[in-house]
Every structure is written in C-alpha cells, then in structure tokens.
C-alpha cells in the first residue's frame, strides 16, 4: 500500500486551524482498484496542499482499515478525513463513528464515491483514474471549509400517538405499551378493527380474521398504558419531535355502556342505510353493531341516517342512549406519532367489466363477505335467488394500470403499481369456493399472477389441481363483459387467451368477481398537519426503502402498516411492529440527537424580506418581527436547504452544505483550486 506522508502543519481539531487532511482510498477488494489506479491517485492527492497523509487500503471499511484511520488521526493530528470508496449511502455513518472514536469531530469527514460512480461505470482505466482524482481533489477543497458540528439535542416526551385503530395501529400500540410508554390510539370510526375485521379467512394459514383480531383488541383495550378514542377526528397539530400536540375532536357515539338490551333497541329503529361493513351488500339500522364481538361492544349511532325519532330511547327505557350529545376536543401530547390509517379498496368505475351495470358483477371484497359464515348470507352462495354454476375472476382491477388503456384517476395519475394481495386472495377464495361448491366451474382471467409470499404459490397449485381454468388476457385487449345473447348464463366474458396462443374465448358467467386493487386513503388533512412526504402512488413515502423503511422525513413520524403501500395482514403487522420498535428506541431516550445539517439564518445579513417564509415545507422558518429577521426552528428543520437557495441576501447557511463548501467543490472539479502539485 502506498503512503504519502507530509508532517508540516499545525495539529488541531478542525474549526479554523490549518487543515491537516488525511485521505484513505479503498481498493474495495478489486472493485475499485481493478479499474482505478488507486496508487497514482493517492500519490497525486498526496501532493495537494494541506493533505498530510494519503494512502490506499484493500478494505477501508474493515476493522484494520478503520483502525488505520484512527491511528493516523492520532499520530498525525489529522483534522479532516476523506474516504474514497463505495457510495456514502452505505458507509458514511461507519466512518463518522470511526472519527468519533479517534476523538475527532465526526463531521470533519467527507465520503467520496469512487465505486458506484467511477470504477463500476467507467471502463477506461485512464479516464476512471482521472475522474477519481478529480472527485477526491474536490473533496479536499471541500473539507478545507468544514467546521466541527454538534448534533441537535431535543428533549423527548416518552409517549406515542397512534393514528388508526386497525390491526397495524393496534399492534404498534400494544408493542409500545408493553415497553412501558403511554400510548393514545385515535380511530375515526366508532369501532376498532379496521379492514381486518371485514376479512373472512386469511392466507396462508386459512384462520378466521376476526379470531386473530379478537385477542389483540382485548389486549389493547385492557392495557393500563393505552388510551383509546373512537369517533375521533384530527383537528390540529403543532409541535415537533419530542413534543407534538395533536388536537382531536371526539364525536358523540350516542350510546354508552349502560345500554342493556342492544338487540331490542336496534330492532325498533325505523331508519336503514347501506352497510359499509358488507360493502353495501346489505342494509343496517341507524343504530347498529357492525358484527358480533366488535369493540366497543355497545352500538353506535350513524348520525347521517338517524332522524332522532327517539324510538330507541323509549326501547332502552331512557338508559344508555343520548341523542343530543355534543363533540368534545382533547389535546394529546406525544413524543412521536405513528401513522396507521391503512388504505382503501379500489372502487371500479361504473361499467368497468360491467360493474354496477350487471348485478352479477361483484368485487372480491364483497365475495369475501358472501363467503363469511357470519356474513349477510350466512356463507351461502346465492345471488338474487339464482343458483350459480359458472364463476369468473378478473385480476388487477384498478392495479397495474397502463397509460392509454386505463383512464386516469381523478388526480390524473394511473395506478401502475401491483396491489400485491389480490392474486393470492383471489386464489384463496377460488379454492375455497371449489371446495365448498365442487359443482362450480371457475374461470380465472388474469394479465399476470403474482403469488410471491411464503405459502402463496400453494394456492395456485391447488387451484390448478381443482381444475380452475386460467385464462391469460392481453393487457392491450382486456376482457369484455356482456349479456349472454344465448341466455345460457346472465353474462358472457369475451377475451383472447394468450396461453392457448391467442384463441378467442367466450365464457358464460353467473357470477363475476373483480379482484380490485388497493389505493391510498385520502390523507390530505394528515399530510398537511404533519408535513408527510407522499409518493407518486399517493401512499406515504418513507425516508429510504432500505435504510429507514418505517420513518417519514419529518422527524418523529413513523409509518405503521399499509399507509405506506399495499400490504397483507402479515406485512402490515410486521411493519407496525417495526415502527413500534423504532419509535420505542427513540422515546426511550430523554433526548433525541439529530444530524446537524440544518439551516441557520445569519441575522446581520438578513433583511427580513419574508421570502423564506413561503418556502419551508416544514414551516420551520418564522420571522422575529422585533429584530426584523427570519428564524429557523432547529427541531422542525429537516435540512433540505431549499431556503438557502431562496434567500436573495445569502443570509441563510446550511451546515454541511454552505456555499463556500459546495462552490469550492465545483471550482476544484473544474481544475481551479487548490492549485495542483504545490509542494511536489
């Protein structure tokens, strides 16, 4: 390994003193050194002013590699360190810690990417070597301007708010409660359980959904440290990581626990409304219980349907029902917030595969209700009285949409993503149908089948063995659903089967099931209140899918479950548990430490023109009207730096990315500074 050591210079720990720069260039096995002449690079960089040490190493990230850095920092009083290796996304933090161990401020470090962005993409050794040299030279110019930084310390209130009372929210709440934190769960509906309560049997185990949900609900509602608010509406949110203040409006339930004869009371109610729990397959009373064993166990009143006729009050003998209740607002303090609002089902457009044109066309969710032993038909498969012989399933309704073929959603986008759960759910339902009603002919129309999870493929095999007919259609020419002219069956599905090399098929159908996809909820209020990042698929966007998968960019906000994208119950609970443990790790400390790369207003340069007040996505900037200058809230600032580019006075700096640092980098890349080979 080449070493180029110069011993001139003043020792010190950054911040003002003469920089003493150490450069460590990684071979990464041969990943880098096979293409880049790392020794020549080390030599040239070693000649730059202020570079007192420059070397190469087989694996700088290895223990010996890090040990070398520590040793040289101490031995040569290095006060700036550059590692040229893989992408900083992988090891930047590793090396920061190395600096810290050596007693050097960890922010006097620069990580130069010479693998992903040089050796792996530039075949020509000479050009690759030149490029690596340029990039490191730029890093040298940059680190000259680095100053020691300290992490921000923000006190944490040891509590969590969970938004959403579905399986994800409840799981996260329980895990956090068990770890000893105060948790508040808010649910907009009158009952807990969310989507899971509406499901029948779950793949891969085939267990009943509500049987799995029940114990979780019991655990949560009995939990000493968990508070639950149903009928809760988000009103306001202020504060930031460590000390969020959320105001929710609690709408009256109309019924309390003292109601004894719920059944009789519900029976007398004259008002009816479509039952969303059964996806509109049935109607329910204005005072209702969604299902057996729901929580809270006492009914709620659907105020939209209720006419306040008072019959229920009479039937209840005056006890337990109050039709005149008023909403109350409560403020909830929490150190962190978990987003667990879940998702919605895609509602097909009228006429999409005959939906809402032919009564024989239902969604997969509706079918699940029909299959449910506790469902509207007690599990019997009847559709307005007719016996059913032929059942068809169509996949990817509302998912995997194609530009030009599928009309865009109201926001102009199309759902080009896979909803992930529908294939397996479809096959599970199809196989159950075939088992329960062997005489059925079942046809499965799909563009593609994705049974990706453990045990999922088994459903496909079973379906094949059961003789379910698979027909693969061409997305360019999706199936057409029409009335059967011959009247054999109410419907006929026409399409071209690619499995039989483009054979035209016409299938008579009694019941057509649309495997509808999953879409993000309308979360406008939530997104606005908490400054959430949203993806182009409208689901909430994590910081980084691998590195920080359950965190939002705004500090203290976590993603629990399918608010982040289509997930089945298994994935949802896993994600929720992950979010809970991440959140717990954070609120377990008295203080949270945040990266210092935030914006700061240099008061004497600020003209108070207010233009930065428009810009901050996190409302972290306010104006001190007494001083007539802008002020950045350290806890709210996420360090995007947009305000820095905005300020017409250059009065805002961003630690780690201030103009001097970035510009010096640019100049160096262009061969301006520092001059080459000064002390050569």
């Amino acid at each position: 390994m080449t070493e180029n050591t110069r011993t001139a210079g003043v020792p010190g720990n950054g911040g003002g003193e003469e920089p003493r720069i150490g450069v460590f260039i990684c071979h990464c096995g041969g990943n880098i050194s096979d293409v880049v002449d790392v020794h020549r690079v080390a030599e040239e960089i070693g000649r730059l002013p202020s570079v007192v040490f420059s070397t190469t190493h087989t694996f700088v990230c290895s223990d010996p590699g890090q040990a070398l850095i520590e040793q040289k920092i101490k031995e040569l009083n290095l006060n700036r360190v550059i590692v040229a290796a893989c992408s900083p996304t992988l090891h930047e933090l590793t090396f920061r810690r190395t600096l810290a161990r050596a007693g050097l401020n960890q922010y006097l470090f620069e990580h130069t990417n010479v693998r992903e962005q040089v050796s792996w993409v530039v075949a020509d050794h000479e050009l690759a070597t030149q490029k690596a040299t340029r990039l490191i030279r730029a890093a040298v110019a940059r680190v000259r301007h680095l100053v020691p930084l300290e992490k921000r310390r923000i006190p944490i209130h040891p509590s969590a708010l969970v938004i959403g009372g579905g399986v994800a929210g409840l799981t996260a709440a329980r895990d956090l409660g068990d770890r000893g934190f105060a948790v508040t769960v808010i649910e907009s509906a009158p009952f807990l359980g969310g989507r899971m309560a509406q499901l029948d049997r779950l793949y891969p185990t085939g267990q009943r959904a509500r049987e799995l949900l029940q114990p979780l609900v019991d655990e949560v509602v009995r939990h000493p440290r968990i508070t639950i608010h149903t009928n809760a509406e988000l009103l306001q949110a202020t504060g930031f990581i460590g000390d969020f203040r959320t105001t929710v409006r609690l709408h009256p339930r109309g019924v309390d626990t003292s109601l004894k004869n719920a059944g009789a009371v519900i029976a007398v109610c004259p008002e009816e409304a479509p039952d969303p729990f059964n996806y509109g397959l049935t109607k329910r009373k204005a005072i209702y219980l969604p299902y057996e064993g729901c929580y809270p166990p006492h009914p709620a009143i659907d105020w939209k349907a209720c006419t306040k006729c008072g019959k229920c009050v009479e039937a209840a003998g005056g006890a337990g029902i109050d039709l005149g209740g008023q909403p109350t607002d409560v403020e909830i303090q929490s150190g962190v917030i978990l987003m667990a609002v879940g998702l919605d089902l895609y509602e097909p457009r009228r006429g999409e595969y005959g939906y809402r044109e032919h009564p024989e066309v239902v969604t997969l969710a509706q079918l699940n209700r029909l299959l449910d032993a506790d469902g509207p038909t007690g599990g019997k498969l009847v559709l307005n009285g007719r016996p059913i012989r032929n059942v068809g399933f169509i996949h990817c309704v509302g998912s995997l949409q194609h530009k030009g073929i599928h009309p865009p959603m109201p926001d102009g986008r199309i759902n080009d993503y896979c909803s992930r759960i529908c294939c397996t759910t479809t096959l599970r339902a199809a196989t159950e149908l075939k088992e329960r009603f062997p005489q059925l002919n079942i046809y499965d129309f799909h563009e593609d089948i994705r049974t990706y999870g453990r045990g999922h493929e088994a459903y496909y095999d079973r379906a094949s063995q059961q003789g379910i007919v698979f027909i693969r259609f061409d997305p360019q020419r999706p199936p057409r659903v029409e009335r059967d002219p011959r009247g054999e069956a109410p419907l006929v599905v026409k399409t071209v089967d690619r499995l039989t090399l483009g054979e035209e098929v016409e299938v008579p159908i009694d019941l057509l099931v649309l495997a509808t996809g999953l879409v993000a909820r309308d979360m406008a209020r939530l997104v606005d209140l908490y400054r959430c990042s949203v993806g182009s698929d409208r689901f909430l966007l994590e910081v980084h899918p691998k590195l920080r998968p359950v965190e939002l960019a705004a500090f203290g906000l976590f993603l629990a479950g399918s608010v982040q994208g289509p997930m089945d119950t298994v994935e949802s609970t896993a994600a929720a548990a992950a979010a809970a443990s991440k959140a717990a790790a954070l609120i377990a400390q008295a203080h949270v430490e945040l990266d210092p790369f935030i914006a700061k207003v240099v008061e004497e340069k600020c003209s108070g023109c207010r233009i930065c007040l428009y810009v901050c996505p996190y409302d972290a900037i306010s104006r001190d009207d007494a001083k007539k200058v802008a002020v950045v809230n350290q806890a709210l600032c996420t360090g995007c730096g947009t305000c820095v580019a905005t300020c017409p006075c250059n009065a805002i700096i961003q630690f780690g990315f201030d103009d001097a640092q970035v510009k010096s980098e640019v100049l160096a890349l262009l061969g301006r500074q520092p001059a080459l080979a000064v002390a050569a």
């Binding site: 020549r40 040239e44 992408s87 900083p88 996304t89 990417n113 693998r115 992903e116 962005q117 040089v118 792996w120 993409v121 530039v122 075949a123 020509d124 000479e126 050009l127 690759a128 070597t129 030149q130 490029k131 040299t133 340029r134 990039l135 030279r137 730029a138 400054r531 959430c532 990042s533 949203v534 993806g535 182009s536 966007l541 910081v543 980084h544 960019a553 790369f597 810009v615 996505p617 996190y618 996420t638 360090g639 995007c640 730096g641 947009t642 820095v644 580019a645 905005t646 961003q654 990315f657 103009d659 970035v662 510009k663 640019v666 100049l667 890349l669 262009l670 061969g671 301006r672 080459l676």
Partner: protein, 168 residues
C-alpha cells in the same frame, strides 16, 4: 484555447484532446441514489459529468450554476426527484420553477441552451441517469469548448481577470 481547457481540467498523463467538462448537481435521495443504482447495475457511461451532491434539488442555488459556467464548465446538469416524489414534500417545486427561468436567462446571456439540462431522475432510474449523461456529454461535445472566462477576457470584460487557471 482547447489545450488550455484540457491541461488544467485533465491533470495527469494521458489524453490531451479536449473533453467536455460537465458539472452535475444531484439531489441525494433520488438522483444521486439513481446514479448509484446505475453503478450497481454496472451501466457504462462517459466520465465527463462530475457529480456535486446536495440534499434536495431545491438547494441548488442558481448561483452555483453560474459559478460553474463562469469557472470553465462546458455544461451543467441539474437532476432532482420527480414532481410528487420529493423527499422534502415540495423542495423540487422550487427547482421546477428556477430551472426553466435559469435556462432563459443563460440563453439571453449568450449561452447555448444545450449546455444546460434539467431532468427528473428517481432512485430507481439508473438507466435514465446513464442515458442522460451520455446524451449530455455528446450534445456538449458537439458544441465544443465553452471556456467562458477566456471568452469574456477576449471580449474585453474584466481586464484585471486572472487567466492563470486557464494556463496563461
């Protein structure tokens, strides 16, 4: 003049013919990661675009772009997250406004529009990234060296200007 640009821009032995020198300002969360994924997939592309990393494309101060051109860049690229995918909610909305305006301004100052390019590249679009770099390199190569400081000097602007950096 070609030589001038080349010598300082391409230190060390090897090529002496002129190579386009392009600065790419990339946001960290999407475009920079996109560049990484191009690397992970071992996509080969020209080495002429040198990447300067910022956290969000909204941080890309137009002054950085003029700094690059004023100091000898032949081209500048600005890459950020797609609209709607910004890690910082709306940081790239500012980029979306600044860059078209910047493009007009640069053109009016006498700079070929092809020397400045602004695109959206997501973390997954390694291929798009490598394509863009290749395209940009070729379109700048076709235009030839810019070497703005030299040019201004010849126009009589900034008599006091130090051209040493350009080998004079």
């Amino acid at each position: 003049m070609t030589q001038v640009g080349t010598q300082t821009q391409q230190p060390g032995p090897g090529r002496t013919t002129w190579e386009p020198r392009i600065i790419g300002f990339l946001c960290y969360w999407c475009s920079y990661t996109g560049a990484d994924s191009a690397g992970t997939a071992r996509m080969q592309y020209p080495p002429n675009v040198d990447i300067v990393k910022v956290m969000c494309s909204g941080r890309i101060d137009p002054e950085l772009i003029t700094t690059a051109f004023a100091n000898g860049a032949d081209g500048v690229m600005v890459l950020g997250c797609h609209i709607g995918d910004c890690h910082y909610i709306s940081g790239n909305h500012k980029t979306m406004v600044r860059m078209p305006l910047m493009r007009r301004l640069l053109a009016e100052l006498g700079l070929e529009p092809e020397r400045f390019r602004h695109e959206w590249v997501s973390a997954a679009e390694g291929e798009k990234f490598s394509k863009l770099v290749a395209e940009m390199t070729e379109q700048v190569r076709a235009l030839g060296p810019l070497n703005w400081p030299r040019l201004l000097y010849e126009r009589g602007v900034g008599h006091g200007m130090d051209l040493k950096a350009w080998g004079e």
